[in-house]
Symmetry: C2
Subunit: 460 residues, 2 copies
């Protein structure tokens, strides 16, 4: 039986199985649901054993558990794939905004509605269906590549223990490629592959001036004002072309290839619709780049918040003693968060007026950007496998956001390939999250083809 027929025949069973998993409210951010996250891990482990994985383990962390499974290829020289996903879900507030109970999965036409249906349980589960389809098509007892699944339980809580988990199990996770199934396609009828995510580092800048708020009549005009100085620091972070003006900020930025640029330009992007979604009156940014390029392949400096001095009703004529801002930087390959932190620190200190003191605190080491090599065997094979499943060309996208994926690729020393079928309209992190069942089946079909392709394409 070919993979597509196997998958189509398995549709009802797949939806039923997924629905059982979705019924477990595995909200990692809510301590009251931590027992449910553990139940979710146990459910997944059981499902993976049923699927046929000979090795299935629940990996504990100081927080919530991940699930690991391995199905070795018959050929010991076959390539190895690590599949990354997560089994925890977002909170459901405001629960009254849901049309159905978030943990009573409901089929509405071709859609399955429920928390986690798209992000990320549905996309994890298409892998077991796809692997069974691959085996049904080949008639073999083992996959053509060694398939390792790593399904995290704290992704929606910032993956606080994931880096340690990766480091601890580094040897078990040895692989030739990392396949991530936790992102989206451009549209249901425009299949696409994410080929990069922006990195991130964020900081708080505190500027201190006089020891106390000063009367602006007695002192104003003759002492440095920390709020004015902070405003100048923030304003000076961009030049007139919308480029980040922190010295050295672009030193390590890799320009995207003309090919990727052309591919992005071919996406059917409706800027007016995008602006409606953003609820913004204008699309503005770095000169020389389109809106999609600005949010996908260009780094940013963004003022996330600021405060200082008198913020209540009415006026208060003071020189405030301090002013504060939160600023985050989205990064693109090959910017290193720690190098950017050093440059931002130097920018602030170099531009601080006399008589003020500044402190800069960074929110941890940051997240590295990542990008796939479009010419790599891993990406080309995945793109072809998706094209075969979807019956149409697969375009390239990126994600403007940041995730732990870059760290997985770094720690495991393997390239990242995104094979995912979510949609931006899936309402992940929002009420009435849903997934398109036909897309999950296309995801399963894609990986059924992909493992065969990788068996030869990734071979030494």
């Amino acid at each position: 039986m070919d993979a597509r027929s196997y998958i189509e025949a398995g549709r009802d069973g797949f939806v039923e199985t997924l629905s059982r998993w979705l019924a477990i409210p595995s909200i990692s951010a809510d301590p009251a649901h931590h027992g449910d996250v553990r139940r979710s891990a146990e459910w997944l482990a059981g499902h993976l054993r049923t699927t046929g994985f000979p090795v299935v383990e629940v990996w504990e962390t100081p927080g919530l558990p991940a699930v690991f499974a391995e199905w070795p290829a018959a050929d010991p020289d076959a390539p190895t794939v690590v599949v990354y996903g997560h089994h925890d879900v977002q909170p459901v507030d405001p629960v009254e905004a849901w049309d159905t109970d978030p943990f009573t999965p409901t089929v509405v036409g071709d859609r399955l509605v429920g928390r986690g249906s798209s992000d990320d349980k549905g996309q994890v589960l298409f892998h077991t269906l796809g692997l069974r389809a691959n085996l049904a098509a080949s008639g073999a007892d083992a996959p053509p590549v060694t398939v390792k699944l790593l399904v995290e339980g704290e992704e929606e809580s910032g993956s606080p223990h994931f880096a340690d988990l990766l480091a601890r199990h580094r040897d078990r996770l040895d692989c030739d490629v990392v396949v991530v199934s936790d992102t989206t396609m451009w549209a249901a009828d425009v299949p696409s592959m994410c080929v990069g995510m922006r990195g991130l580092t964020d900081c708080q800048i505190d500027v201190y001036g006089p020891g106390t708020d000063l009367h602006s009549g007695s002192f104003g005009g003759a002492v440095p004002n920390p709020a004015r100085a902070l405003a100048a620091l923030l304003a000076g972070m961009h030049d007139a072309d919308g480029r980040v003006a922190v010295p050295g900020f672009y030193d390590d930025v890799v320009e995207i290839s003309p090919g990727e640029r052309e591919a992005i330009a071919r996406l059917p992007f409706d800027e007016a619709e995008w602006l409606r979604t953003a609820n913004s009156a204008a699309a503005v940014g770095e000169a020389g780049y389109s809106t999609l390029e600005r949010v996908w392949v260009r780094p940013t400096a963004e003022v996330n918040g600021m405060w200082g001095g008198h913020t209540g009703a009415g006026g208060k004529t003071i020189v405030p003693r301090s002013a504060h801002a939160k600023v985050s930087f989205r990064l693109v390959p090959d910017q290193e968060p720690l190098r950017i932190q050093e440059r931002v620190r130097r920018y602030v200190l170099d531009n601080l007026p006399d008589g003020l003191r500044a402190e800069i605190g960074f929110g941890g080491p940051g997240v590295r950007p990542c990008a796939s090599d479009l010419e790599s065997a891993g990406v080309r094979a995945a793109r072809e496998a998706m094209a075969r499943a979807f019956g149409s060309e697969v375009l390239y996208t990126r994600e403007g956001g940041s995730g732990p994926e870059a760290d997985i690729a770094d720690v495991l020393g393997a390239p990242l390939v995104f094979v995912a079928v979510g949609l931006n309209s899936d309402r992940i992190h929002a009420p009435n999250e849903k997934v398109e069942i036909p897309l999950l089946l296309k995801g399963a079909e894609s990986v059924a083809y992909l493992w065969d392709a990788y068996a030869t394409a990734l071979r030494g």
Copy 2:
């Protein structure tokens, strides 16, 4: 008996009388003390009658009452003086920081300690002693100029009804000069005369961007950020020389005369000590001006507060929907608050990036700056009268702060002359307010001489 002998003989009685008035806790900002403010007005009215003023009236307002008194000169063609002061006092919090009860006036050596002793009851009361001294010296029944006293009851609450009161009684307050006794001298051994106060206008600037906070991964870099735009607006309000860069801001600024500049330079100013008082690490400001000039004779733009976006713990990677700032402008002659408001409004709107919306709200019509003409008869005579009383040269100072004095001069169409003997060390508005009794007596002596001088100097 000459004025000085009369005043020295009256010292004990003066301190006793002032102490009785200081015992009335006339805190206008505290509704629980509004009855006391009324008692204070009645006490003053009684004292003025005892002093000999033939006309004494308590002038009601929608808030707390002022006291008006008039003692006409014998000569109907004699000039008229309006003396301005106030009988309400600041709150006393933190009361536990006082060494003595704030409303149990206590003599400690040459000092009288108590709320209102310097600001402003002591300085109002030296006028009655001074006027009696003038009469004792001349032997006349009436002063050589018509003396009108206007003693406000809401000065420490922002004088909310004072402009209306002035307008309503405009005719009764007709005069040739307004003498204000509510400021300070440089030091006990450096008598000086304030010859100007800065004006003030303040605003709140609100910048609005996307309809909601946006995810900086999905949208950052491609939509306008209101916090960044506001920072640029605030930063752009000054140029590299520390001058206010709002177009037209300096159009109406009158440079001080070389004479006044030289007089300011002669003040024994200790910048290190000033910085300790400011608790600031540096004295910085507009290029080309000294610290005293920056706070006295130069206009400013000061960020009093700002806020927007995420201001809590940790990071939040958003493009905030709005950002806000409070900005105030100290003004110098002949800047008009309403013209400055229009220029600030235009600056904000002209420099707002595409896709953002701004609102600018001003805190009322503002306060006009004022300055005395150093060559005027009113100032020269007052300076000579003070010099005679103090036995030393009288230098010039200004006040960097703003008060209703400018409006009095405007409404009454008469020049302002400041004759005051407070000290910056008097701890007005703070615990343990005190006044130097010998300085109050010098104030009394100054006006005793001044009324004689004005009788000829101001004559038509």
